[in-house]
Amino acid sequence: MTPTEGQVAGSFRDPSGFLFWREGRLYRQVNEAYRIHYDRLVSSGLAAELQADGLLVGHEECAPGLAQAPGAYKVLRPELVPFISYPYEWSFSQLKDAARLTLAVQKRALARGMSLKDASAYNVQFVHGRPLLIDTLSFEACPEGRPWVAYRQFCQHFLAPLALMARRDVRLGRLGQLHLDGVPLDLAAELLPGRTRFAFSLLTHIHLHARSQKRYQDRPVAARQRPLSRFALLALIDSLEGAVRKLDWRPRGTEWADYYGQTNYSGEALDLKERMVADMLRELRPRNVWDVGANTGRFSRVASRAGIPTVALDIDPAAVEKNYRQCRRDSERFLLPLVGDVTNPSPGIGWENGERLSLLQRGPADALLALALVHHLAIGNNLPLGKVAESLARACRSLVIEFVPKADSQVRRLLATREDIFPDYHAQGFEAAFQDHFAIERRESIAGTDRILYAMHSRRS
Protein backbone atom coordinates (compact mmCIF):
# COMPACT_ATOMS: atom_id res chain seq x y z
CA MET A 1 0.00 0.00 0.00
CA THR A 2 1.29 3.47 -0.83
CA PRO A 3 -0.05 5.67 1.97
CA THR A 4 -1.22 9.16 1.19
CA GLU A 5 -0.07 11.82 3.64
CA GLY A 6 -2.73 13.08 6.04
CA GLN A 7 -5.82 11.68 7.67
CA VAL A 8 -6.78 8.09 6.81
CA ALA A 9 -9.97 8.14 4.73
CA GLY A 10 -11.99 5.77 6.91
CA SER A 11 -11.01 7.41 10.21
CA PHE A 12 -13.34 10.31 10.95
CA ARG A 13 -16.52 9.18 12.69
CA ASP A 14 -15.20 9.02 16.24
CA PRO A 15 -14.37 12.42 17.80
CA SER A 16 -11.96 10.63 20.16
CA GLY A 17 -9.21 10.71 17.55
CA PHE A 18 -8.11 9.56 14.13
CA LEU A 19 -5.33 7.91 12.16
CA PHE A 20 -3.00 9.79 9.87
CA TRP A 21 0.11 9.22 7.77
CA ARG A 22 3.14 11.45 8.14
CA GLU A 23 6.33 10.83 6.22
CA GLY A 24 5.37 7.26 5.49
CA ARG A 25 4.54 6.44 9.11
CA LEU A 26 1.12 5.74 10.58
CA TYR A 27 0.07 7.66 13.71
CA ARG A 28 -3.05 7.89 15.82
CA GLN A 29 -4.04 11.23 17.28
CA VAL A 30 -5.88 10.97 20.60
CA ASN A 31 -7.98 14.07 21.19
CA GLU A 32 -8.46 15.95 24.45
CA ALA A 33 -12.10 14.80 24.38
CA TYR A 34 -10.91 11.26 24.97
CA ARG A 35 -8.40 12.08 27.73
CA ILE A 36 -10.20 10.51 30.71
CA HIS A 37 -10.95 7.33 28.79
CA TYR A 38 -7.41 6.99 27.46
CA ASP A 39 -5.91 7.58 30.90
CA ARG A 40 -8.26 4.97 32.33
CA LEU A 41 -7.35 2.49 29.60
CA VAL A 42 -3.70 2.83 30.54
CA SER A 43 -3.96 3.24 34.34
CA SER A 44 -6.39 0.34 34.76
CA GLY A 45 -3.86 -1.96 33.12
CA LEU A 46 -6.41 -2.97 30.49
CA ALA A 47 -4.33 -1.80 27.51
CA ALA A 48 -1.22 -3.62 28.78
CA GLU A 49 -3.20 -6.79 29.51
CA LEU A 50 -4.91 -6.89 26.10
CA GLN A 51 -1.68 -6.10 24.26
CA ALA A 52 0.29 -8.70 26.18
CA ASP A 53 -2.29 -11.35 25.29
CA GLY A 54 -2.35 -10.36 21.62
CA LEU A 55 -5.93 -9.04 21.63
CA LEU A 56 -5.25 -5.33 21.05
CA VAL A 57 -2.85 -3.72 18.61
CA GLY A 58 0.37 -2.55 20.22
CA HIS A 59 1.45 1.09 20.15
CA GLU A 60 4.04 3.47 21.46
CA GLU A 61 3.41 7.01 22.63
CA CYS A 62 5.17 9.67 20.56
CA ALA A 63 5.96 13.34 20.95
CA PRO A 64 2.70 15.37 21.05
CA GLY A 65 4.28 17.76 18.55
CA LEU A 66 3.56 15.22 15.83
CA ALA A 67 -0.19 15.90 16.12
CA GLN A 68 -2.02 16.46 12.86
CA ALA A 69 -4.81 18.72 14.13
CA PRO A 70 -5.56 20.98 17.11
CA GLY A 71 -7.02 19.42 20.25
CA ALA A 72 -4.54 16.58 20.54
CA TYR A 73 -3.91 14.94 23.91
CA LYS A 74 -1.54 12.19 22.75
CA VAL A 75 0.00 10.91 19.57
CA LEU A 76 0.46 7.15 19.27
CA ARG A 77 2.32 5.08 16.76
CA PRO A 78 0.40 1.82 16.32
CA GLU A 79 1.91 -1.39 14.99
CA LEU A 80 1.21 -1.73 11.30
CA VAL A 81 -1.27 -4.26 9.96
CA PRO A 82 0.36 -5.95 6.93
CA PHE A 83 -2.85 -6.13 4.89
CA ILE A 84 -6.20 -4.50 5.64
CA SER A 85 -9.11 -6.86 4.98
CA TYR A 86 -12.82 -6.33 5.47
CA PRO A 87 -15.50 -8.49 7.10
CA TYR A 88 -17.26 -9.10 3.78
CA GLU A 89 -14.03 -10.68 2.54
CA TRP A 90 -13.75 -13.11 5.45
CA SER A 91 -14.80 -16.72 5.55
CA PHE A 92 -17.36 -17.85 8.11
CA SER A 93 -14.80 -18.87 10.75
CA GLN A 94 -12.83 -15.66 10.33
CA LEU A 95 -15.95 -13.61 11.11
CA LYS A 96 -16.77 -15.96 13.99
CA ASP A 97 -13.28 -15.61 15.47
CA ALA A 98 -13.52 -11.83 15.12
CA ALA A 99 -16.87 -11.91 16.97
CA ARG A 100 -15.40 -14.01 19.77
CA LEU A 101 -12.44 -11.65 20.06
CA THR A 102 -14.80 -8.67 20.39
CA LEU A 103 -16.77 -10.35 23.19
CA ALA A 104 -13.61 -11.54 24.96
CA VAL A 105 -12.26 -7.97 24.90
CA GLN A 106 -15.58 -6.60 26.18
CA LYS A 107 -15.54 -9.02 29.13
CA ARG A 108 -12.03 -8.01 30.10
CA ALA A 109 -12.94 -4.35 29.71
CA LEU A 110 -15.94 -4.76 32.02
CA ALA A 111 -13.74 -6.43 34.61
CA ARG A 112 -11.68 -3.23 34.71
CA GLY A 113 -14.57 -0.79 34.73
CA MET A 114 -14.45 -0.03 31.02
CA SER A 115 -16.57 -1.02 28.04
CA LEU A 116 -16.32 -1.14 24.26
CA LYS A 117 -18.16 1.89 22.92
CA ASP A 118 -18.37 0.34 19.48
CA ALA A 119 -18.35 -3.21 18.18
CA SER A 120 -17.56 -2.67 14.54
CA ALA A 121 -16.21 -5.67 12.66
CA TYR A 122 -13.98 -3.20 10.79
CA ASN A 123 -12.08 -2.68 14.05
CA VAL A 124 -10.79 -6.24 13.79
CA GLN A 125 -7.95 -7.22 11.48
CA PHE A 126 -6.07 -10.47 10.99
CA VAL A 127 -2.43 -10.17 11.98
CA HIS A 128 -0.11 -13.19 12.13
CA GLY A 129 -3.08 -15.44 11.49
CA ARG A 130 -5.12 -14.19 14.46
CA PRO A 131 -7.85 -11.59 14.87
CA LEU A 132 -6.70 -8.40 16.57
CA LEU A 133 -8.61 -5.33 17.76
CA ILE A 134 -6.94 -2.41 16.01
CA ASP A 135 -8.87 0.53 17.47
CA THR A 136 -7.23 1.69 20.69
CA LEU A 137 -9.93 4.37 21.06
CA SER A 138 -12.82 1.90 21.23
CA PHE A 139 -12.88 1.87 25.02
CA GLU A 140 -14.73 4.12 27.42
CA ALA A 141 -14.84 4.34 31.17
CA CYS A 142 -18.14 2.72 31.97
CA PRO A 143 -20.03 3.65 35.12
CA GLU A 144 -21.88 0.78 36.81
CA GLY A 145 -25.42 0.52 35.50
CA ARG A 146 -24.76 1.64 31.94
CA PRO A 147 -26.00 -0.84 29.30
CA TRP A 148 -23.73 -1.79 26.37
CA VAL A 149 -24.04 1.00 23.79
CA ALA A 150 -22.58 -1.26 21.09
CA TYR A 151 -25.08 -4.10 21.52
CA ARG A 152 -26.95 -3.15 18.33
CA GLN A 153 -23.72 -2.84 16.40
CA PHE A 154 -22.46 -6.21 17.59
CA CYS A 155 -25.67 -7.91 16.44
CA GLN A 156 -25.54 -6.17 13.04
CA HIS A 157 -21.83 -6.60 12.37
CA PHE A 158 -21.38 -10.11 13.69
CA LEU A 159 -24.40 -12.09 14.81
CA ALA A 160 -26.70 -11.35 11.85
CA PRO A 161 -24.18 -12.18 9.10
CA LEU A 162 -22.97 -15.27 10.98
CA ALA A 163 -26.54 -16.51 11.41
CA LEU A 164 -27.32 -15.86 7.74
CA MET A 165 -24.17 -17.65 6.62
CA ALA A 166 -24.74 -20.63 8.90
CA ARG A 167 -28.50 -20.97 8.60
CA ARG A 168 -29.34 -19.63 5.13
CA ASP A 169 -26.44 -19.43 2.70
CA VAL A 170 -22.77 -18.82 3.29
CA ARG A 171 -22.62 -16.36 0.36
CA LEU A 172 -24.74 -13.93 2.39
CA GLY A 173 -21.52 -12.92 4.16
CA ARG A 174 -21.16 -10.53 1.24
CA LEU A 175 -24.23 -8.55 2.44
CA GLY A 176 -21.88 -6.51 4.61
CA GLN A 177 -20.52 -4.90 1.47
CA LEU A 178 -23.94 -3.33 0.87
CA HIS A 179 -24.56 -2.30 4.46
CA LEU A 180 -21.69 -0.34 5.95
CA ASP A 181 -22.97 -0.55 9.52
CA GLY A 182 -23.71 -4.25 9.44
CA VAL A 183 -26.72 -6.21 8.24
CA PRO A 184 -29.97 -4.50 9.32
CA LEU A 185 -31.69 -6.82 11.76
CA ASP A 186 -35.10 -6.61 10.08
CA LEU A 187 -33.46 -7.78 6.86
CA ALA A 188 -31.67 -10.60 8.67
CA ALA A 189 -34.93 -11.65 10.36
CA GLU A 190 -36.67 -11.61 6.98
CA LEU A 191 -33.99 -13.73 5.30
CA LEU A 192 -33.41 -16.26 8.08
CA PRO A 193 -35.42 -19.50 7.91
CA GLY A 194 -38.51 -19.56 10.16
CA ARG A 195 -37.02 -22.35 12.25
CA THR A 196 -34.41 -19.96 13.62
CA ARG A 197 -37.23 -18.56 15.81
CA PHE A 198 -36.99 -21.78 17.78
CA ALA A 199 -33.36 -21.17 18.64
CA PHE A 200 -33.53 -19.00 21.76
CA SER A 201 -30.42 -16.95 21.01
CA LEU A 202 -31.49 -16.10 17.45
CA LEU A 203 -35.09 -15.52 18.50
CA THR A 204 -33.96 -12.94 21.01
CA HIS A 205 -30.88 -11.20 19.59
CA ILE A 206 -32.18 -11.07 16.02
CA HIS A 207 -35.92 -11.64 15.63
CA LEU A 208 -37.26 -9.92 18.77
CA HIS A 209 -34.45 -7.38 18.67
CA ALA A 210 -35.51 -6.42 15.13
CA ARG A 211 -39.12 -6.12 16.28
CA SER A 212 -38.10 -3.89 19.17
CA GLN A 213 -36.14 -1.65 16.77
CA LYS A 214 -39.18 -1.33 14.54
CA ARG A 215 -41.49 -0.62 17.43
CA TYR A 216 -39.40 2.28 18.73
CA GLN A 217 -38.36 3.53 15.31
CA ASP A 218 -40.31 6.79 15.26
CA ARG A 219 -41.46 6.89 18.82
CA PRO A 220 -40.29 9.79 20.96
CA VAL A 221 -39.64 8.30 24.37
CA ALA A 222 -39.20 9.90 27.73
CA ALA A 223 -35.66 9.82 29.07
CA ARG A 224 -35.59 7.87 32.29
CA GLN A 225 -32.79 6.15 34.12
CA ARG A 226 -33.02 2.39 33.92
CA PRO A 227 -29.73 0.93 35.11
CA LEU A 228 -28.44 -2.46 34.12
CA SER A 229 -26.40 -4.28 36.74
CA ARG A 230 -22.88 -5.44 35.91
CA PHE A 231 -24.07 -9.00 36.45
CA ALA A 232 -26.90 -8.61 33.91
CA LEU A 233 -24.44 -7.06 31.48
CA LEU A 234 -22.13 -10.05 31.87
CA ALA A 235 -25.13 -12.31 31.35
CA LEU A 236 -25.85 -10.48 28.08
CA ILE A 237 -22.26 -10.98 26.89
CA ASP A 238 -22.43 -14.62 27.94
CA SER A 239 -25.65 -15.03 25.97
CA LEU A 240 -24.05 -13.46 22.89
CA GLU A 241 -21.04 -15.73 23.29
CA GLY A 242 -23.38 -18.74 23.37
CA ALA A 243 -25.22 -17.47 20.30
CA VAL A 244 -21.97 -17.14 18.35
CA ARG A 245 -20.61 -20.48 19.60
CA LYS A 246 -23.72 -22.36 18.47
CA LEU A 247 -23.46 -21.06 14.91
CA ASP A 248 -21.34 -23.30 12.77
CA TRP A 249 -20.75 -23.85 9.10
CA ARG A 250 -18.61 -26.52 7.52
CA PRO A 251 -17.71 -26.54 3.84
CA ARG A 252 -19.00 -29.44 1.85
CA GLY A 253 -17.85 -29.99 -1.73
CA THR A 254 -18.91 -26.64 -3.20
CA GLU A 255 -17.51 -25.37 -6.47
CA TRP A 256 -13.78 -25.64 -5.87
CA ALA A 257 -13.31 -27.19 -2.48
CA ASP A 258 -12.34 -30.57 -4.01
CA TYR A 259 -10.43 -28.97 -6.87
CA TYR A 260 -7.08 -30.63 -6.31
CA GLY A 261 -8.76 -34.02 -6.49
CA GLN A 262 -10.28 -33.16 -9.89
CA THR A 263 -7.46 -31.61 -11.88
CA ASN A 264 -5.59 -33.42 -14.59
CA TYR A 265 -2.41 -32.85 -12.64
CA SER A 266 -0.62 -35.92 -11.42
CA GLY A 267 0.86 -35.81 -7.94
CA GLU A 268 4.34 -35.46 -9.43
CA ALA A 269 3.35 -32.60 -11.74
CA LEU A 270 1.81 -30.73 -8.78
CA ASP A 271 5.00 -31.23 -6.76
CA LEU A 272 7.05 -30.07 -9.73
CA LYS A 273 4.87 -26.99 -10.17
CA GLU A 274 5.30 -26.24 -6.47
CA ARG A 275 9.11 -26.43 -6.80
CA MET A 276 9.04 -24.24 -9.91
CA VAL A 277 6.93 -21.60 -8.16
CA ALA A 278 9.28 -21.73 -5.16
CA ASP A 279 12.27 -21.21 -7.48
CA MET A 280 10.69 -18.24 -9.19
CA LEU A 281 9.72 -16.64 -5.86
CA ARG A 282 13.27 -17.15 -4.56
CA GLU A 283 14.53 -15.18 -7.53
CA LEU A 284 11.90 -12.44 -7.25
CA ARG A 285 12.32 -12.12 -3.46
CA PRO A 286 9.00 -10.30 -2.95
CA ARG A 287 8.11 -8.51 0.29
CA ASN A 288 4.52 -9.70 -0.02
CA VAL A 289 2.50 -11.96 -2.30
CA TRP A 290 -1.11 -12.12 -3.48
CA ASP A 291 -2.19 -15.52 -4.68
CA VAL A 292 -5.22 -14.90 -6.89
CA GLY A 293 -7.47 -17.91 -7.38
CA ALA A 294 -5.69 -19.57 -4.48
CA ASN A 295 -8.26 -22.30 -3.78
CA THR A 296 -7.30 -23.88 -0.44
CA GLY A 297 -3.86 -22.29 -0.54
CA ARG A 298 -1.47 -25.05 -1.60
CA PHE A 299 0.67 -22.66 -3.67
CA SER A 300 0.10 -19.68 -1.35
CA ARG A 301 1.95 -21.72 1.25
CA VAL A 302 5.01 -21.89 -0.97
CA ALA A 303 5.30 -18.15 -0.29
CA SER A 304 3.93 -17.94 3.27
CA ARG A 305 6.09 -20.81 4.53
CA ALA A 306 9.12 -18.87 3.31
CA GLY A 307 8.02 -16.10 5.70
CA ILE A 308 6.50 -13.85 3.01
CA PRO A 309 3.20 -12.20 4.08
CA THR A 310 0.72 -13.73 1.63
CA VAL A 311 -2.92 -13.04 0.81
CA ALA A 312 -4.74 -16.06 -0.64
CA LEU A 313 -7.76 -14.83 -2.55
CA ASP A 314 -10.46 -17.15 -3.84
CA ILE A 315 -14.04 -16.76 -5.02
CA ASP A 316 -15.26 -19.88 -3.23
CA PRO A 317 -16.20 -19.40 0.45
CA ALA A 318 -15.74 -23.14 1.07
CA ALA A 319 -12.16 -23.15 -0.21
CA VAL A 320 -11.36 -20.04 1.86
CA GLU A 321 -12.97 -21.59 4.94
CA LYS A 322 -10.84 -24.73 4.52
CA ASN A 323 -7.77 -22.61 4.01
CA TYR A 324 -8.45 -20.53 7.14
CA ARG A 325 -9.10 -23.62 9.25
CA GLN A 326 -5.74 -25.00 8.20
CA CYS A 327 -4.04 -21.68 9.01
CA ARG A 328 -5.64 -21.70 12.46
CA ARG A 329 -4.82 -25.36 13.14
CA ASP A 330 -1.17 -24.93 12.15
CA SER A 331 -0.83 -21.43 13.70
CA GLU A 332 0.35 -20.06 10.35
CA ARG A 333 1.59 -16.51 10.76
CA PHE A 334 2.03 -15.32 7.21
CA LEU A 335 -1.05 -16.46 5.34
CA LEU A 336 -4.33 -14.55 5.10
CA PRO A 337 -7.10 -16.33 3.16
CA LEU A 338 -9.84 -14.05 1.82
CA VAL A 339 -12.99 -14.43 -0.26
CA GLY A 340 -12.86 -12.37 -3.43
CA ASP A 341 -13.73 -12.44 -7.09
CA VAL A 342 -10.89 -11.29 -9.30
CA THR A 343 -13.35 -10.44 -12.09
CA ASN A 344 -15.32 -8.25 -9.67
CA PRO A 345 -12.90 -7.19 -6.92
CA SER A 346 -14.06 -5.47 -3.72
CA PRO A 347 -14.94 -1.85 -4.55
CA GLY A 348 -14.27 1.24 -2.46
CA ILE A 349 -17.32 1.77 -0.25
CA GLY A 350 -18.65 4.19 2.34
CA TRP A 351 -18.47 7.97 2.30
CA GLU A 352 -17.13 9.18 -1.04
CA ASN A 353 -16.27 5.56 -1.84
CA GLY A 354 -13.26 6.05 0.39
CA GLU A 355 -13.94 4.60 3.83
CA ARG A 356 -13.20 1.01 2.83
CA LEU A 357 -10.61 0.63 0.11
CA SER A 358 -11.05 -1.30 -3.08
CA LEU A 359 -8.86 -4.36 -3.49
CA LEU A 360 -6.67 -2.62 -6.06
CA GLN A 361 -6.19 0.40 -3.78
CA ARG A 362 -4.66 -2.00 -1.25
CA GLY A 363 -2.03 -2.99 -3.79
CA PRO A 364 0.06 -3.24 -5.75
CA ALA A 365 1.33 -6.58 -4.53
CA ASP A 366 5.04 -7.04 -4.68
CA ALA A 367 4.45 -10.36 -6.42
CA LEU A 368 1.26 -11.92 -7.66
CA LEU A 369 0.62 -15.62 -8.28
CA ALA A 370 -1.93 -16.38 -11.00
CA LEU A 371 -1.86 -20.15 -11.27
CA ALA A 372 -4.50 -22.05 -13.23
CA LEU A 373 -6.38 -18.77 -13.53
CA VAL A 374 -5.89 -17.28 -16.98
CA HIS A 375 -8.27 -19.70 -18.76
CA HIS A 376 -11.05 -18.80 -16.33
CA LEU A 377 -10.53 -15.12 -17.08
CA ALA A 378 -10.02 -15.36 -20.85
CA ILE A 379 -12.44 -18.17 -21.71
CA GLY A 380 -14.73 -18.43 -18.69
CA ASN A 381 -15.23 -14.65 -18.47
CA ASN A 382 -14.57 -13.46 -22.05
CA LEU A 383 -11.80 -11.13 -20.88
CA PRO A 384 -9.39 -10.32 -23.72
CA LEU A 385 -5.81 -11.33 -22.80
CA GLY A 386 -4.63 -7.75 -23.32
CA LYS A 387 -7.05 -6.53 -20.65
CA VAL A 388 -5.97 -9.27 -18.26
CA ALA A 389 -2.30 -8.31 -18.76
CA GLU A 390 -3.02 -4.58 -18.33
CA SER A 391 -4.95 -5.12 -15.11
CA LEU A 392 -2.39 -7.51 -13.60
CA ALA A 393 0.40 -5.06 -14.45
CA ARG A 394 -1.40 -2.49 -12.29
CA ALA A 395 -2.01 -4.95 -9.47
CA CYS A 396 1.57 -6.16 -8.99
CA ARG A 397 5.26 -5.50 -9.57
CA SER A 398 6.16 -9.10 -10.44
CA LEU A 399 3.98 -11.88 -11.70
CA VAL A 400 4.20 -15.66 -11.67
CA ILE A 401 1.56 -16.84 -14.10
CA GLU A 402 0.59 -20.17 -15.58
CA PHE A 403 -0.68 -20.42 -19.13
CA VAL A 404 -3.22 -23.21 -19.63
CA PRO A 405 -3.60 -24.06 -23.35
CA LYS A 406 -6.70 -25.25 -25.19
CA ALA A 407 -5.38 -28.81 -25.25
CA ASP A 408 -5.68 -28.93 -21.44
CA SER A 409 -8.70 -30.84 -20.16
CA GLN A 410 -9.73 -27.91 -17.91
CA VAL A 411 -9.97 -25.62 -20.94
CA ARG A 412 -11.69 -28.30 -22.98
CA ARG A 413 -14.27 -28.49 -20.21
CA LEU A 414 -14.83 -24.72 -20.38
CA LEU A 415 -15.20 -24.89 -24.17
CA ALA A 416 -17.38 -28.01 -24.19
CA THR A 417 -20.67 -26.09 -23.95
CA ARG A 418 -19.82 -22.97 -25.93
CA GLU A 419 -18.50 -21.73 -29.22
CA ASP A 420 -14.74 -21.22 -29.40
CA ILE A 421 -14.49 -17.48 -30.09
CA PHE A 422 -10.90 -17.25 -28.87
CA PRO A 423 -8.62 -17.65 -31.92
CA ASP A 424 -5.73 -15.83 -30.16
CA TYR A 425 -5.81 -18.03 -27.08
CA HIS A 426 -2.50 -19.84 -27.45
CA ALA A 427 0.98 -19.46 -25.93
CA GLN A 428 2.17 -17.01 -28.63
CA GLY A 429 -0.97 -14.90 -28.31
CA PHE A 430 -0.61 -14.95 -24.53
CA GLU A 431 3.03 -13.83 -24.69
CA ALA A 432 2.25 -11.11 -27.24
CA ALA A 433 -0.51 -9.71 -25.02
CA PHE A 434 1.60 -9.80 -21.86
CA GLN A 435 4.78 -8.41 -23.42
CA ASP A 436 3.06 -5.04 -23.82
CA HIS A 437 2.78 -4.74 -20.05
CA PHE A 438 5.42 -7.07 -18.64
CA ALA A 439 9.04 -8.01 -19.27
CA ILE A 440 9.04 -11.81 -19.41
CA GLU A 441 11.99 -13.07 -17.34
CA ARG A 442 11.44 -16.82 -17.34
CA ARG A 443 9.36 -19.27 -19.33
CA GLU A 444 9.23 -22.95 -18.34
CA SER A 445 7.04 -25.85 -19.41
CA ILE A 446 5.58 -27.89 -16.59
CA ALA A 447 6.63 -31.46 -17.38
CA GLY A 448 3.76 -33.93 -17.53
CA THR A 449 1.26 -31.20 -18.60
CA ASP A 450 0.71 -28.86 -21.55
CA ARG A 451 1.03 -25.85 -19.30
CA ILE A 452 3.71 -23.14 -19.15
CA LEU A 453 4.87 -21.15 -16.14
CA TYR A 454 6.18 -17.59 -16.55
CA ALA A 455 7.92 -15.09 -14.28
CA MET A 456 7.53 -11.45 -15.36
CA HIS A 457 8.11 -7.90 -14.17
CA SER A 458 5.48 -5.22 -14.63
CA ARG A 459 6.62 -2.42 -16.94
CA ARG A 460 4.73 0.08 -14.76
CA SER A 461 6.99 -0.36 -11.73
Binding site: K117, Q153, S212, F231
Partner: protein, 74 residues
Protein backbone atom coordinates in the same frame (compact mmCIF):
# COMPACT_ATOMS: atom_id res chain seq x y z
CA UNK B 1 -41.85 -29.51 27.41
CA UNK B 2 -39.34 -27.62 25.29
CA UNK B 3 -42.15 -25.77 23.49
CA UNK B 4 -43.79 -24.90 26.81
CA UNK B 5 -40.52 -23.51 28.14
CA UNK B 6 -40.08 -21.57 24.94
CA UNK B 7 -43.60 -20.13 25.14
CA UNK B 8 -43.05 -19.11 28.78
CA UNK B 9 -39.79 -17.37 27.90
CA UNK B 10 -41.50 -15.49 25.07
CA UNK B 11 -44.41 -14.36 27.27
CA UNK B 12 -41.93 -13.16 29.87
CA UNK B 13 -40.07 -11.20 27.25
CA UNK B 14 -43.14 -9.54 25.78
CA UNK B 15 -44.27 -8.56 29.28
CA UNK B 16 -40.85 -7.17 30.12
CA UNK B 17 -40.62 -5.17 26.89
CA UNK B 18 -43.97 -3.54 27.56
CA UNK B 19 -42.87 -2.42 31.03
CA UNK B 20 -39.68 -0.66 30.09
CA UNK B 21 -38.63 2.80 29.09
CA UNK B 22 -35.29 4.01 27.72
CA UNK B 23 -32.87 6.54 29.10
CA UNK B 24 -30.55 9.04 27.52
CA UNK B 25 -27.18 7.69 26.50
CA UNK B 26 -23.97 9.31 25.39
CA UNK B 27 -21.60 8.05 22.76
CA UNK B 28 -20.60 8.63 19.19
CA UNK B 29 -22.59 5.73 17.80
CA UNK B 30 -26.33 5.57 18.16
CA UNK B 31 -27.22 2.59 20.29
CA UNK B 32 -30.72 2.74 18.78
CA UNK B 33 -33.73 3.22 21.04
CA UNK B 34 -35.26 -0.14 20.21
CA UNK B 35 -31.94 -1.93 20.69
CA UNK B 36 -31.27 -0.12 23.93
CA UNK B 37 -34.62 -0.95 25.49
CA UNK B 38 -34.46 -4.48 24.22
CA UNK B 39 -31.01 -5.00 25.67
CA UNK B 40 -32.18 -4.08 29.14
CA UNK B 41 -35.05 -6.54 28.87
CA UNK B 42 -33.05 -9.39 27.45
CA UNK B 43 -30.13 -8.86 29.85
CA UNK B 44 -32.45 -9.07 32.86
CA UNK B 45 -33.93 -12.17 31.31
CA UNK B 46 -30.73 -14.06 30.54
CA UNK B 47 -29.29 -13.03 33.91
CA UNK B 48 -31.49 -15.68 35.53
CA UNK B 49 -30.03 -18.55 33.53
CA UNK B 50 -26.58 -16.99 33.80
CA UNK B 51 -26.90 -17.01 37.60
CA UNK B 52 -27.86 -20.68 37.51
CA UNK B 53 -24.86 -21.40 35.28
CA UNK B 54 -22.43 -19.50 37.49
CA UNK B 55 -23.63 -21.19 40.69
CA UNK B 56 -23.79 -24.60 39.06
CA UNK B 57 -20.16 -24.19 38.00
CA UNK B 58 -19.26 -23.17 41.55
CA UNK B 59 -20.98 -26.28 42.92
CA UNK B 60 -19.19 -28.46 40.37
CA UNK B 61 -15.87 -26.91 41.31
CA UNK B 62 -16.60 -27.40 45.01
CA UNK B 63 -17.51 -31.08 44.52
CA UNK B 64 -14.49 -31.65 42.27
CA UNK B 65 -12.37 -30.00 44.98
CA UNK B 66 -13.74 -32.40 47.61
CA UNK B 67 -12.83 -35.41 45.50
CA UNK B 68 -9.38 -34.16 44.62
CA UNK B 69 -8.69 -33.56 48.34
CA UNK B 70 -9.82 -37.11 49.08
CA UNK B 71 -7.51 -38.43 46.41
CA UNK B 72 -4.66 -36.40 47.87
CA UNK B 73 -5.31 -38.00 51.27
CA UNK B 74 -5.00 -41.46 49.75
Amino acid sequence: MKILRHALRMCGLVLAVSLLFPRRVYGYIDPGTGSYIFQIVIAAFVAVSFAVKVYWNKIKKFVAGLFSKKNDAH
